[in-house]
């Protein structure tokens, strides 16, 4: 029974195995990045960057059709441009950051959809918006696994400055010159993972796998290591169940994965021991050291 529901689809079909690997790679890279994004209260920035990648990838599509390389490069350029501009726009204009980001990503979304539509069909548009996790070829998988590997390694090395940059930037700046390097490297990782996630889950869903597991983990873990561990576990679980749901009930897989992550978030919000609703209502146990 369990075999048939959970294992069989992956044992029988190569495309399911590829989809699972793609999702695991995205979870492994994007989720830890998402944890830091959340801790820096930059979730909205991540959202804006995800949308900004769309017109870039669309221009790549315009130039050479559904080509992995062109769309990746287009997305990277657009994402990096936004990463650099987002700070500047707030500094120069009087608009509050959230307002300028919201305006910005609406424009990006409209522009991206328009560009794809001028040249491609509705199928192409769906491909760009929602990804093609069930049709990942070897090249796409190599790209996703490389991005995940790079993210994990960079995060491992830059962990300490990155934590300080989030928790106490003033102190980091007073003891080290790494602050700017750390900040920029981190933003690059965000863009890189969004572009990778875009191939698997589409522009609109990629940011979901980055942010939802991190937000849910907040209700379970109290240390940074614990947060990352729980978040990645949630992302794995969402990927697996989302893919199975989409297989058994023929649902679109990207949205299915994000929806599972969303449900886990909602459950965590209620049941989570670290600040969940029930934990807040119940009388506290005496504090232990």
């Amino acid at each position: 029974m369990i075999w048939e529901i959970v294992i069989q689809p992956f044992a029988d079909f190569g495309f399911m195995r590829r989809a699972l690997l793609g999702c695991i790679a995205v979870s492994l890279g994007a989720t830890p990045v998402g944890v830091f994004l959340m801790l820096r209260r930059m979730s909205l920035t991540g959202d804006a960057m995800a949308h900004a990648i769309l017109p870039g990838a669309a221009v790549g599509f315009l130039i050479s059709g559904l080509s992995l390389g062109a769309m990746t490069v287009g997305g990277l350029i657009a994402g990096m441009a936004v990463a650099l501009l987002s700070g500047l726009v707030t500094r120069v204009t009087a608009l509050r950051e959230d307002a300028s980001l919201a305006a910005f990503y609406l424009i990006s979304l409209a522009l991206g959809v328009l560009i794809v539509s001028t040249r491609g069909s509705n199928v192409d548009l769906m491909h760009v918006l929602f990804g093609t996790v069930l049709a990942l070829n070897n090249d796409a998988l190599v790209l996703l696994c490389s991005i995940a590997s790079l993210s994990v390694l960079v995060l491992a090395v830059l962990f300490r400055p990155l934590v300080l940059e989030c928790a106490d930037p003033q102190f980091l700046r007073s003891v080290s010159k790494l602050s700017a390097v750390t900040h920029f490297t981190f933003l690059s990782l965000v863009v890189l993972n969004l572009v990778g996630g875009f191939h698997a889950l589409g522009t609109l869903m990629a940011v979901g796998i980055m942010i939802l597991p991190a937000a849910a983990a907040r209700f379970w873990a109290k240390s940074i290591g614990g947060l990352i561990l729980v978040a990645v576990a949630i992302a794995f679980l969402s990927s697996l169940s989302g893919l199975l749901l989409s297989y058994h009930y023929s649902l679109p897989s990207g949205p299915a994965i994000i929806l599972v992550a969303g449900i886990i978030y909602a459950v965590s919000l209620v049941l989570g021991p670290a600040g969940g609703l029930i934990a807040q209502v119940l009388p506290r146990r005496p504090l232990q050291n």
Partner: protein, 247 residues
């Protein structure tokens, strides 16, 4: 007597509006100095100028034998994210940054020094507490433990006793005194004249410009404090009318 710090016609400010004007003073090596003055006198600004967070509009700060790495700075409302999932040990151990750097390993010896620092601020036993669960006083103790580990020759403190209970304040004053006996230079912005008189041998009275600098009992006179308040009130208007004539 060599000076650890020398302000040379230092003018500091934000957006070209000066908050500290033409300050000329020497801070002796190993001295324990309070920076005192009315609100808006530029006390915090002066510390930012020393750390290099604020570039001088005019003049400069000379460091003598000190280098940037010899300075430890505790900002007023330190912008530590208290909700960040960091434990007390994590926070305090980062005071060892100059030794362990961004990549180094926290060995047994360093771990022992972290424990010693925690003990000397009275936080033993709270190592694994998340920083979000600390009271204001406990948080300040933790930050002092981090300063202890930074082992700096010049310590800058910005209003270290605001919103802190009396016992914590007494304990932290002990820490400051021990720095003084170890020959470190301590520069602390304070707003309570009693504390300054009781514990700080030197005072620099500031009201955007230097009012007086020297032994506390000579500086903190009623006359000087009155003059400082007047100068600051005169300065409350547009900065260009501010200055010696206005006072």
């Amino acid at each position: 007597m060599t000076s650890a710090l020398a302000f040379r016609d230092l003018t500091l400010g934000y957006d070209r509006l000066p908050a500290v004007q033409q300050l000329h003073a020497d801070i002796a090596e190993g001295s324990l100095t309070a920076i005192f003055g009315p609100n808006g006198a530029g006390k915090s600004t002066l510390l930012k100028g020393v750390t290099g967070a604020l570039a001088p509009l005019q003049g400069n700060v000379e460091f003598g034998a000190l280098e940037r790495g010899d300075i430890a700075y505790l900002p007023q409302q330190s912008d530590i994210d208290r909700t960040f999932p960091l434990s007390v040990v994590d926070l305090v151990a980062m005071g060892l940054w100059h030794e362990i750097g961004p990549f180094g390993w926290l060995g047994k010896k360093q771990r022992a020094r972290v424990d010693a620092a925690l003990a000397s601020v009275g936080l033993t036993g709270l190592e694994s507490r998340p920083i979000g669960s600390l009271s204001g006083g406990q948080m300040q103790r933790a930050l002092f433990a981090r300063l202890l580990l930074q082992d700096a020759r010049l310590v800058l403190l910005d209003e270290p006793f605001t919103a802190i209970d009396a016992r914590t304040m007494a304990d932290l004053l002990d820490v400051i005194r021990s720095w003084h006996t170890e020959g470190r230079t301590v520069l602390a912005v304070l707003h309570d004249a009693e504390t300054v008189r009781a514990h700080f041998p030197e005072t620099l009275l500031l009201a955007r410009e230097l009012v007086a600098h020297g032994p506390t009992e000579q500086v903190l006179t009623v006359e000087n404090q009155f003059r400082a308040r007047q100068m600051c009130e005169a300065c409350a208007g547009p900065p260009h009318v501010c200055g010696r004539d206005a006072a």
